[in-house]
């Protein structure tokens, strides 16, 4: 192995690219946000104080922890975090319930059908998410498509109030993030060896039992990957609750917007973002562990 590496120095370069990427587009912006979160709001450009001062060969760092203390003092922020986590959890669950059968069916279809189905799954993402969420506003509104159809069929008399409720947010979340659940699940399910199920059938297992005891455990990694891909971005989601949610939909993205724009308090907004990242780190670490385990298992 060692000799191979010496033969191809480019290899290190290739491995280095993701690290440079991470450094430039994650660590550096995060460091800036972290820095802002320790400053104080000010009337200036940019609207916060510097935390580093260099006077008389002395580098002074003035880190202001008040922004974090402040987040703990008002129950608004806790409710917003909990609201985001609730919507992300329920949304992820529904994505899984809907996405798993879809991925399963696609993985069992013929090769040509698989290509077509995957294309169909991905096709909506070719349109900007904003326009798709706006389309939902048109569908779910009081005079929207859904209510017109239901009323036209005589199923309901009064229009259903869906737009501007949490239900609309769930619909938007599940719709927007379903592809991110289906694709990793499909990638996992398509690799399963059908002979395992045949063997189970030969040994007298009911199809449901073999599904539950063979397919589901084998697809665990796909489930975890899909859930993470849905859960993490939904926690920070802003567009969907803003457009489809009502005033009672409390999510951290909206509160962050308020701090940044309404209160022009960039430091508190930055502190909110840092805490949100800390919360998200938990599932990300779990995902990493899981992948590490999988790799070990393969070796």
């Amino acid at each position: 192995m060692k000799r191979l590496r010496h033969l191809f120095p480019g290899r290190q370069l290739v491995v280095g690219i993701p690290f440079v990427w991470l450094l430039l587009f994650f660590l550096l912006p995060f460091a800036i946000v972290l820095k802002i979160s320790f400053s104080e709001a000010a009337v200036a450009i940019p609207p916060y104080t510097e935390i580093f001062t260099y006077v008389d060969q002395q580098l002074k760092i003035l880190a202001n922890l008040n922004n974090y203390v402040f987040l703990g003092q008002d129950e608004l922020y806790l409710s917003a975090y909990l609201g985001s986590l609730k919507i992300a959890t329920v949304g992820t669950l529904f994505c899984l319930l809907i996405g798993y059968p879809m991925a399963y069916a696609i993985a069992r279809a013929s090769k040509e059908m698989q290509t077509v189905c995957l294309l169909l799954i991905m096709m909506p993402t070719w349109t900007a998410i904003l326009i798709r969420v706006y389309a939902w506003m048109g569908i779910l509104g009081n005079n929207g498509l859904l209510n017109s159809v239901l009323q036209g069929l005589g199923l309901i008399d009064e229009p259903l109030r869906i737009l501007n409720t949490d239900l609309a947010v769930y619909i938007g979340v599940v719709y927007s993030y379903l592809p991110f659940m289906v694709l990793p699940l499909y990638a996992n399910l398509v690799k399963h060896d059908p002979s395992l199920l045949e063997a189970a059938a030969d040994l007298g297992a009911h199809p449901l039992a073999s599904f539950w005891r063979i397919t589901v455990p084998l697809s665990k990694n796909g489930i975890v990957a899909g859930c993470m891909l849905v859960f993490i971005p939904v926690v920070g989601e802003f567009v969907i609750p803003e457009l489809l949610g009502g005033p009672q939909t409390l999510m951290i993205g909206k509160v962050l917007w308020q701090e940044f724009f309404n209160n022009r308090d960039w430091p508190v907004a930055a502190a909110l973002a840092v805490v949100m990242l800390a919360i998200l780190l938990v599932p990300i670490i779990l995902l990493n562990r899981n992948q590490a385990k999988e790799l070990e298992g393969r070796l």
């Binding site: 009081n142 803003e242 457009l243 005033p247």
Partner: protein, 384 residues
């Protein structure tokens, strides 16, 4: 002073615009009429303008380019917050921007703008002296900003529906219509909306309760919050632009909103011919007023062109044409006789002297008051 939702709409429409509606309404990179104007500028002379959506005349920019040989790159926004975030981040890239007065003072203090060179603004003499004086609250000495349009925050309503619900004695010219729980409770069925803006709605409640609209006393703000909590169950929604179409379609029957927007709703209803009569009133108790001003960012690159554009907008025929289109009164005294009579004599657009005296301006808020108001507004809207 509108809302982020509309910005999103503007962005998405911008994407659609290519195939659908090239030079109309909210599209983000709305027309670049300078480029469209025949034989416009010799390359190089450009001007970047950032203005509110639907806030300029159809031919204004083309006329300017034809006259001055300056090409205008015209972008639009629909919320002061978005404009401010860009200005505070620095290097916005714009040469002329249009903030509203409550934001102006703080932006001047932050060093966002450069002083105007009045020697390059000979049309300054056309401006309304009273308005300039009022503006000095935010811009002492009128050094940084030129008044563009102004307007009021009052009540828009569907004439027939209100009559059906409240009868002939409905207090159409009073805040009682929406702030008296028994009135608004009756209107709930046909839909009442408020602006989604703590800094414009809480002063209205403070004023209605007899306090100073710019009060920063916690106990008075608390009272204003309580008033809103009392009527909250009867409010359909809080939003700062959606009410235009809802009022025009008949989805709602009362909207507390910006004067020009309500007139837009009225014009839309007339265009569609759905028989809905929309009217606007400035409540007799008085109402909030705002000025939108033209200003030049400190780091603007085309300062001479920016002055030329601002001077152009201060020409009476030019600004009168814009008012005719957007239904907001302008800050140009010499232009008033040139404005369409129907607009000039409409008390909702050009208020009477008696009402003018009762208007108040939205204050420049200290950060902690701003935070208290935002927090209070969240409590009103979400109960948290």
């Amino acid at each position: 002073m509108k809302h982020f939702g509309k910005t999103l709409l503007a962005l998405s429409l911008g994407m659609l615009a290519a195939c659908d509606k090239p030079a109309e309404s909210d599209s983000k990179k709305e027309e670049t009429p300078g480029a469209a104007a025949p034989a416009a500028a010799p390359a190089g002379k450009t001007l970047h303008v950032y203005n509110w959506s639907d806030y300029i005349g159809e031919n204004t920019l083309a006329n300017f380019s034809a006259e001055s040989a300056i090409q205008v790159v015209y972008d639009v926004f629909d919320s002061n917050e978005v404009l401010e975030a860009k200005l505070l981040a620095g290097s916005s890239g714009y040469d002329v921007v249009v903030p509203s007065n409550p934001y102006l003072a703080k932006q001047i203090k932050a060093g966002v703008f450069q002083k105007l060179d009045k020697s390059k603004l000979p049309n300054w003499a056309n401006l309304d002296k009273d308005l300039l004086k009022a503006l000095e609250l935010s811009d002492p000495g009128n050094q940084y900003a030129v008044p563009y349009m102004w307007g009021t925050v009052g009540i828009g309503y569907n004439v027939d529906k209100i009559k059906a619900v409240l009868g002939d004695k409905a207090p159409l010219d009073s805040w009682d219509l929406v702030f008296k729980p028994e009135n608004i409770a009756k209107l709930k069925a046909c839909g009442v909306s408020f602006l989604d803006s703590p800094t414009e709605m809480l002063p209205a409640a403070l004023h209605y309760l007899g306090y100073a609209p710019d009060s920063s006393k916690p106990e008075e703000l608390k009272k204003a919050e309580e008033l809103f909590l009392k009527i909250r169950p009867s409010v359909a929604y809080f939003h700062s632009s959606k009410y235009i179409s809802d009022l025009a379609n008949g989805d709602t029957c009362v909207a507390v909103g910006y004067s020009g927007d309500i007139y837009q709703a009225k014009a839309r209803a007339e265009e569609v011919g759905n028989g809905l009569k929309i009217a606007y009133s400035i409540p007799k108790e008085g109402a909030g007023s705002f000025f939108d001003v033209l200003a030049i960012p400190a780091d603007a690159k085309n300062v001479a062109e920016a002055h030329a554009f601002i001077n152009f907008l201060m020409k009476p025929p030019v600004i009168a044409e814009i008012t005719n289109e957007v239904h907001f009164p302008n800050g140009n005294a010499a232009a008033t006789p040139l404005v369409d009579e129907a607009i000039r004599t409409d008390p909702g657009i050009y208020p009477s002297q008696a009402i003018l005296k009762k208007l108040y301006t939205f204050p420049d808020l200290a950060p902690d008051v701003q935070r208290t108001m935002t927090r209070s507004w969240t409590r009103i809207k979400s109960g948290t």
